[in-house]
């Protein structure tokens, strides 16, 4: 006969108890090693505490030990999907410290690569976030486009990721023959592809019901929390550092900034997808307007001389030797320079103490600050909505943890 299981004697309200779940540093929603300690009441999220630091690499401390140009590969590896932006923030800060003007061709080349990197970052975001939400085929399509961008990077710099292409004074070498055609073909094709992605997702009922009205944070609260980038623009605030502060070749480019209305996850998705199209337009305009001229500044005190000169000019040899062994010295001072990265305001603070090594390099990483908005986005929603919000928040833990 079946045994009767005795009824529980304690009077715990099983419907109301709070269960603390650890969404550990290793989880398949691969946005990096983020640990969330979540208090759940049933399926509703009641409290959320992100624990970070699992990929803290001590980059800022390592930078204090290296000469200024050796810092560039370190700094690239922070936010590892938008590496050109970190290079630009750092090189721009050092250029402002030493008062070095970069030639126009370098400005345009930098803008070109920054916008290609922005498209790359948004593609990685779209692929992985759609994967989290269940639209798995988006991953393959987005990474197909991403491979095309990486081919362009490899053509120009030799590396797919972490290219160390920007140097203090400009870019390390000019773009090769054939790059312009390939890039132009890519920039023409990209809006068509984005249209295809939108066809897949924009009217997909499951996607819409998972993202519309979910994760709304009011604009004022986002501003209080210091959130910038597509998250802020989706909430209706048209704040973009490319338009606000003039840097590189952006003042000469004609582009729009997509701004959302409601500030829910769907708006964040639309803003980023529209940004991809605008970035392709900027890429095409950069190629059209690319001026001739040197690709790096002339000042031999800070910039390596071209190799062809080393065999003829003694001075160049000495400059080269000094720059490679010791590096250039920077007068004492400090500067904070920020740019618009795909996730928001990426700022670089460099403190120089007169020696050949920076005394302090600090990055104001957008994901680190944007992560503070995650509690507001996820508390009071279901677990599944929390995952969707995390995807739409687009944190890159390399930048959060540095």
């Amino acid at each position: 006969m079946a045994e009767q299981i005795a009824a529980p004697t304690e009077t715990v309200d099983r419907d109301r108890e709070i269960m603390t779940v650890n969404v550990g540093p290793h989880h398949p929603a691969t946005h990096g090693v983020l640990r969330l300690v979540v208090d759940l009441e049933g399926e509703m999220v009641r409290e959320l505490r992100p624990v970070i630091g699992y990929v803290h690499t001590g980059i800022e401390k390592s930078c204090e030990d290296k000469s200024y140009w050796k810092v560039i590969p370190f700094v690239e590896r922070m936010d590892y999907v938008s590496y050109f932006f970190q290079m630009e923030a750092y090189c721009g800060a050092v250029e402002r410290l030493i008062g070095l003007e970069i030639p126009p061709r370098a400005r345009y080349l930098r803008t070109l690569f920054l916008e290609l990197n922005r498209i790359h970052s948004h593609l990685v975001w779209l692929g992985t976030t759609a994967l989290d939400l269940g639209a798995i085929s988006m991953l393959w399509y987005c990474f197909r486009e991403r491979d095309k961008i990486l081919d362009l990077f490899e053509m120009a710099t030799g590396q797919r990721m972490h290219t160390r292409y920007f140097q203090v004074g400009g870019v390390i070498e000019d773009i090769p023959l054939g790059f312009e055609q390939k890039c132009r073909a890519f920039a023409e094709e990209m809006p068509i592809r984005v249209g295809q992605y939108e066809d897949l997702l924009d009217r997909n009922e499951v996607f819409l019901s998972r993202t519309k009205g979910v994760g709304v944070v009011p604009r004022e609260r986002l501003l209080e929390l210091g959130v910038t980038g597509p998250l802020l623009r989706a909430a209706g605030e048209p704040w973009d550092l490319r338009k606000a502060f003039d840097y590189l070749a952006y003042p000469e480019m004609d582009f729009k900034i997509p701004v959302g209305t409601v500030g829910d996850n769907y708006d964040r998705y639309r803003v980023r997808v529209a940004e991809m199209v605008e970035s392709s337009r900027i890429v095409a305009q950069c190629l059209d307007a690319l001026p001739e001229g040197p690709f790096i500044a002339d000042d031999r005190k800070y910039v390596l001389p071209p190799r062809s000169e080393l065999s003829t000019s003694m001075e160049s040899l000495i400059h080269h030797f000094k720059l490679v062994t010791e590096g250039f010295r920077v007068d004492p001072g400090e500067v904070y320079y920020s740019i618009e990265s795909p996730r928001g305001e990426l700022g670089c603070f460099v403190l120089a103490d007169g020696s050949a090594k920076p005394a302090r390099v600090h990055f104001r990483d957008p994901s680190f600050v944007n992560l503070q908005a995650f509690r507001d986005m996820a508390i009071g929603t279901y677990v599944a909505d929390m995952i969707a919000s995390l995807g739409m928040l687009d944190p890159i833990l390399g930048g959060v943890d540095r």
């Binding site: 290793h26 691969t30 090693v33 990929v55 001590g58 991953l139």
Partner: protein, 205 residues
């Protein structure tokens, strides 16, 4: 067909042409190598190249049998340490490794997990082999997906019991410097040993 149609030598030759005999271990290793279940584990930049980019259409990992990426370490065979292992993350990685069931393999992908890469500082464990055994190291920062695939096939050959030999083993050879010094089994002179120790003190200071 085999019942009584052929006899003796004909039968033996017929069977030889059609049936493969081997040991159980070889078949087991062949099966293991060609159906590895990698763990979906990514730490930092290398994670964008593998596992994410590696399973996409251009560098398809599935054609080597590793179609099924598992999220749970209990179901996975291979953990690819893709990225820098920070001091806070090391116990977590070790716990994941301990949770995996035998047989399991570890690929240290990239410079950071092999030897801390460029990050010789307080926050990064100087090589994942400080706290867990590693089967194969793939250098690069980040290694190209093709490089990871090469490492993966090397691992497959290692699993199958015939690991790739280095040139030293294959040709029973030693390099020119060693030959100039007196051969691979020569002993250093006391002066050379003292000079090395002094140089080491200076550099490690």
């Amino acid at each position: 067909m085999l019942r009584g149609d052929l006899e003796g030598e004909d039968l033996e030759r017929y069977v030889e042409e059609r049936v493969v005999t081997t040991t159980f271990e070889k078949v087991q290793n062949w099966a293991r190598a060609n159906s590895i279940f990698p763990l979906t584990f990514g730490l930092a930049c290398c994670a964008i190249e593998a596992p994410i980019s590696l399973v996409t259409a251009r560098y398809d990992l599935a054609r080597f049998g590793a179609e099924a990426l598992r999220a749970s370490p209990r179901q996975a065979d291979l953990i690819i340490l893709s990225g820098r292992v920070s001091v806070k993350m090391a116990p977590v990685v070790r716990r994941l490794y301990d949770q995996m069931l035998e047989p399991k393999w570890v690929m240290a992908m990239g410079a950071c997990s092999s030897s801390a890469g460029m990050f010789a500082n307080y926050a990064v464990v100087q090589g994942a082999d400080k706290f867990m055994p590693v089967d194969i190291y793939v250098p690069g920062c980040p290694p190209r997906p093709e490089a990871v695939l090469y490492g993966f096939t090397k691992l497959q050959r290692k699993i199958m019991g015939s690991p790739d030999q280095s040139w030293r083993q294959r040709y029973d050879a030693y390099g020119t410097e060693e030959w100039a010094r007196g051969g691979p089994r020569s002993e250093p002179s006391p002066e050379a040993a003292a000079a090395y120790r002094e140089a080491r003190e200076l550099t490690l200071a």
